[in-house]
Amino acid sequence: MSLEQTPIVEIQNVSKQFGSLYAVDDISLSIYPGEFFSLLGASGCGKTTLLRMLAGFETPTTGRIFIDGQDITDLPPYKRPINMMFQSYALFPHMSVADNIAFGLRQEKMPKAERDQRVEEMMQLVQISKLAKRKPHQLSGGQRQRVALARALAKHPKILLLDEPLGALDKKLREQTQFELVNLQERLGITFIVVTHDQEEAMTMSSRIALLREGRIVQVDAPRRLYEYPNCRYSADFIGSINLLDAEVISQDEDLVTLKTDAFEQPLQVYHGQPLIAEMDVTVAIRPEKIRVVNSSGTHNANTIEGVIKEIAYLGDVSIYHVELPSGKRIQFTQSNIQALAEQPLTWEDKVCLSWQADSCNLLLE
């Protein structure tokens, strides 16, 4: 996806105030055609309010929203080229599956023959053709989700909004449906905008993620960049698990920064492109899977520390180890369980030497 494309959705300085509270606080975003864009954040971060403003159920207090260059800020929901899949699915209980899907097409007065064909197409798309005559209460949770999806797609909207699309499904079904949604989106080429609080869901499905906090955008990036290069403590901590160390800048040699920390005696080394000031307080973030166990030689090298294993969590594919450093600070690292039964597995109270590369951790300014 090239950034020279014209955005299909442009959100310009949008704020939404409820009483004295800003649910959405001066957000600007551009979303490009064909993107699978996620709004990610904890509950109350304003992601749902932002989605509802796109759908037209809420009006921004200030700011404008453009779709394909057209200002839609003041358009009512029934005049927007956008459809939405609701968290509760909101299927009409008094209508059959086919009538639910046909509802939107009836509103635009599509001829019956064409309408029936479109409904059939949609039901095939999400594999529910056999359920056409059923009422929503006769369907399982997964089937309802499909009907809701088919109904929202039936009008061939330019943009599909999905509010916690997988929230009501159980774990197995959710994982399977994630991939189906992505395949569907790629096949149809419609821009998807998803609201979710589940970081795994956002990471799996999205082409880009906007991380929100208290009505503001923290970071907008592709999943990989968001994980590898968080721009602040909040996004580092929100996505996956991470070790955060308070540190102080000692020196900078080109891009290689040397720091000291209260957590251990050895110096810390991190690559960082921007110039820093000596004695500046920063945070160093290290992902647990980037830490390796090494032979306990050269413990005075940078990024090499010693500690004692205090906790082990066996997750099947990987194990998480909590290591206590002499300073009392705890660091976690993960190891994949390649061998079913290793000869000398790491165990409680084992003394280990940990090391990581200067280019596999991040320096965070805030």
């Binding site: 929901p77 029934y78 109904r151 929202a152």
Partner: protein, 272 residues
């Protein structure tokens, strides 16, 4: 738990039912009495039902009562639905609290006071505006006044469980708000509307106090006829009439109950 009832419990049950339904049962039985004397049994007969059909005064009153009940119930449902929608959908507006309170007031207001206050209102309106002349119109207006309160309660409780994201979904799919109301909201709350209408109809049909206050010459409802004829002595004709009314009211209550039961079942289905 022991599901069989013990003797004292059965005795209590029999007494309870006898207390509630004994008088009505005796009224129904005596409506088939041959004798003209209400207290003396003279054998089975349906002649008082025949006599009832020839009593023009009672037939006129019955027709008037049904007209009044139908019109007032219909208007009460329309206004009550709008009031309930306003109260449930809009959580914050100026006067919401007082609207809610004033809607509930007729539920607890003594009928005598309601009747008297409406009479005073109608008299002064007639003097100032020349409308409404006391009679059928004023009874309809008075019955609407208290029926709206009951209808609002019934519909409001249905709307409290209504998933308004259904309305949003309809609008999102391109339906205008008015269309959304008639296609989505109305069909889903229809059972509550029917129950509310039947309740309002029944309340209007058996109201004596308020109607007596606000009625004028020429407009005599059925309960008024019954009451005035009983003062001259209970006639077997009135027993026959009362039996018919009991039958109609039971039927209405039964239908309302069934409708509400089905609505409750539908609501439970929607929830899971």
């Amino acid at each position: 738990m022991n599901k069989r009832l013990s003797l004292p419990l059965i005795t209590l049950l029999v007494f309870g039912y006898a207390f509630l339904y004994g008088p009505i049962a005796s009224l129904i039985i005596y409506s088939f009495n041959e004798s003209k004397l209400v207290t003396v049994w003279g054998g089975w007969s349906t002649k008082w039902y025949g006599a009832l059909l020839e009593n023009q005064q009672i037939l006129d009153a019955a027709w008037l009562s049904i007209k009044i009940a139908t019109v007032s119930a219909t208007f009460a449902v329309i206004i009550g639905t709008l009031a309930a929608l306003a109260l449930v959908k809009f959580k914050r507006f100026r006067g919401r609290g007082s609207l809610s309170l004033m809607l509930a007031a007729p539920l607890v207001m003594p009928e005598v006071i309601l009747g008297l206050s409406l009479l005073l209102l109608f008299v002064s309106m007639e003097e100032l505006l020349g409308w409404p002349a006391r009679g059928q119109t004023t009874i309809i207006l008075a019955h609407m006044t208290f029926a709206i309160a009951y209808v609002t309660v019934v519909i409001r409780s249905r709307l409290a469980h209504f998933d308004f994201s259904l309305e949003e979904a309809a609008m999102d799919l391109g339906a205008h708000p008015v269309k959304t109301f008639f296609w989505i909201t109305l069909p889903l709350i229809a059972p509550a509307l029917v129950a509310g209408w039947l309740l309002a109809f029944t309340l209007s049909l058996d109201d004596l106090v308020v109607a007596s206050f606000v009625s004028g010459p020429g407009a005599t409802t059925l309960p008024m006829v019954v009451y005035s004829s009983v003062r001259l002595g209970v006639s077997p004709e009135i027993n026959a009439l009362a039996t018919i009314i009991v039958g109609l009211v039971s039927l209405a209550v039964l239908i309302a109950g069934l409708v509400m039961y089905r609505q409750e079942k539908q609501r439970l289905r929607e929830m899971n």
